[in-house]
Amino acid sequence: MSEKKPALWLRIYTFLVYAYIYIPIIILVVFSFNKQKLNIRWEGFTLDWYNKLFNDHQVLLATRNTLMIAFISTIVATVIGTMAALALQRYHFPGYGASETLMYIPIIIPEVVMGISLLAFFALINFKLGLVTITLSHIAFNIPFVALVVRARLHGFDKSIEEASMDLGANELVTFWRVTLPTIMPGVLSGAMLALTLSLDDYVITYFTAGPGSTTLPLRIFSMVRFTVTPEVNALSALWVAIVFVILFISEYAQRRRA
């Protein structure tokens, strides 16, 4: 792209859009320290809501559930999705077209349809709704996203290093492990991050497949937004935001160090 400085109006415009994106979050965080319960006017600084949050058993349980589901579904989906990406990007086999289409269906289907179909499915086979059903559902929608991202990475992959490795005597497995995987690792990690985000954030599909004691943070936050409407929700949101920022900055920093 041209190195010419973009027009002033464009810069201002972009800044405004960033503001549009960030202002709600800033307001949310600021008001988590608000003394007033009803969240209308500012009444004074307090950490009460954070305190309440840490003693809230429901929230702690939801956090534990959300994290467990996210980690497990991310790991499984990343492994399976990466394999699928490799398959689609480098091999030809009978049923290629069908496999590719099949894999992209979860991306294309509206979430509500996927949610109710899974609900119906679990109901039919009499499988108890709970953490397991949520995790299984998350894996289902995560696999295609991981595959998509990894495929994009594989696209410019130069096979000659693999060939070189094999010429030097390594077999497929070793080549894969020592040469291929490290090279595509950024893509795999991006895919994993995407899967993690999707899982942590998921509301609709989780809503349909959740059972007793398996409430997740998005579900819990939804309840809190609808019912409690006290700054405790803000505190939870602010914490979530803070943790996310910290993790992402750490990973960005690490990435830059590597580069």
């Binding site: 702690l60 709704l129 004691g213 609808r226 690490a254």
Partner: protein, 353 residues
């Protein structure tokens, strides 16, 4: 590889943190109830007394409860269905019979509320709270003080009403306003109700079953069709809130504790129900969610526990309905196949732009 290391360390830390925070309780009770209905302090007291940890999942309507249970969301131990839902559940064999010997606090109940027509003999349920569905308004904000349901159709209320997001309740209000039965299955009457409902829609600012009093309190709405407890909560924050049972009649409902069939923790469930019926638990409920209490012993205890609260409970028509409220109050009853007719009206009106 540094990135991987960092990410994995963070993940491990997070897992550790969370694992320590919420240890798996060996004894657990799964409660599935309306949101804003069971005080956390009551659950905590129960845990302290019995060592059983309570998981509190929520639903916003009886229909949601029924749908989830029918869909196979098993594993719940205690649920709180309303009268007509109990009737459906009993018919479908969805409830466990209660072992009264394990629920001695049953005696605390006011016997006006025991042996209801939807559960003769109290075989499956015990009353939890009861109440009315009426009209609440902020007397300083409304253009005039409404006395009848018909009043809120007035254009002066344009876009200033909050209504429960509950098709049976709201369509029921429209039917009552027209002088028909809240549980009619007559197509002509329902068609008329649909038209009237469409006329009301411009006045409705939002539908909300979860926290309708918030809209009243933050000024979004000036009046609302809501349950008595919501109105009472609003009244506590703003003494200008008035709750009435309009002349055409309001709704009346009874919520009950019940145990779904094949609940995994049957004994814990009975123990919980017994605990809730104790006077100490009863006052906690009234403190936090001021619906009407069927617990006579609880109300008696309230006199000494918190005299001011007792007084305001008795004074506020939401919590302590006078007889003229109850004279015209109608409960919701299941209408079987006609449910789809109501649902259709609901969809049509909401879909109307």
């Amino acid at each position: 590889m540094k990135k991987i290391r960092i990410v994995s360390i963070v993940m491990l830390l997070a897992l550790l943190m969370v694992a320590c925070g919420a240890q798996k309780a060996s004894k657990v009770l799964n409660l599935y109830a309306w949101s804003e209905y069971v005080p956390q302090v009551l659950l905590d007291n129960f845990t302290t007394a019995t060592g059983i940890q309570v998981n509190y999942d929520t639903y916003s309507s009886n229909e949601e409860l029924l749908a989830k249970l029918q869909a196979g969301a098993s594993g719940y131990d205690v649920i709180i269905p309303s009268d007509y839902t109990v009737a459906i559940m009993i018919k479908q064999g969805m409830l466990e019979m209660l072992d009264k010997s394990k629920i001695p606090n049953f005696a605390n109940l006011d016997n006006r509320f025991t042996n209801p027509d939807f559960d003769p003999g109290d075989l499956y349920t015990v009353p939890y709270q009861w109440g009315t569905t009426g009209l609440a308004y902020d007397k300083t904000m409304v253009p005039f003080e409404p006395k009848r349901w018909a009043d809120v159709w007035d254009p002066a209320f344009a876009n200033r009403l909050v209504a429960l997001d509950d098709e049976r309740e709201i369509i029921g209000v429209v039917l009552q306003m027209l002088g028909y039965s809240k549980n009619t299955t007559d197509q002509a009457q329902l068609d008329e109700a649909k038209q009237k409902f469409l006329d009301l829609k411009p006045n409705i600012r939002l539908f909300d079953s979860d926290s309708p009093h918030s809209a009243l309190l933050n000024g979004e709405a000036w009046a609302g069709i809501m349950w008595n407890g919501d109105a009472a909560l609003a009244y506590r924050e703003n003494p200008n809130i008035v709750y009435i049972c309009p002349e055409e009649g309001c709704g009346i409902w009874f919520d009950n504790l019940a145990i779904p069939k094949n609940a995994p923790h049957l004994d814990a469930a009975m123990a919980f129900i017994n605990f809730v019926l104790s006077p100490e638990a009863s006052v906690l409920i009234t403190e936090e969610f001021p619906y009407s209490s069927p617990n006579a012993a609880g109300l008696e205890y309230l006199k000494t526990y918190d005299a001011a609260l007792y007084q305001s409970y008795m004074d506020f028509p939401g919590t302590n309905p006078p007889s003229d409220f109850l004279a015209h109050a109608t409960p919701i009853r299941d209408v079987g196949d006609a449910t789809t007719l109501y649902d259709r009206i609901w969809t049509e009106v909401k879909g109307e732009e």
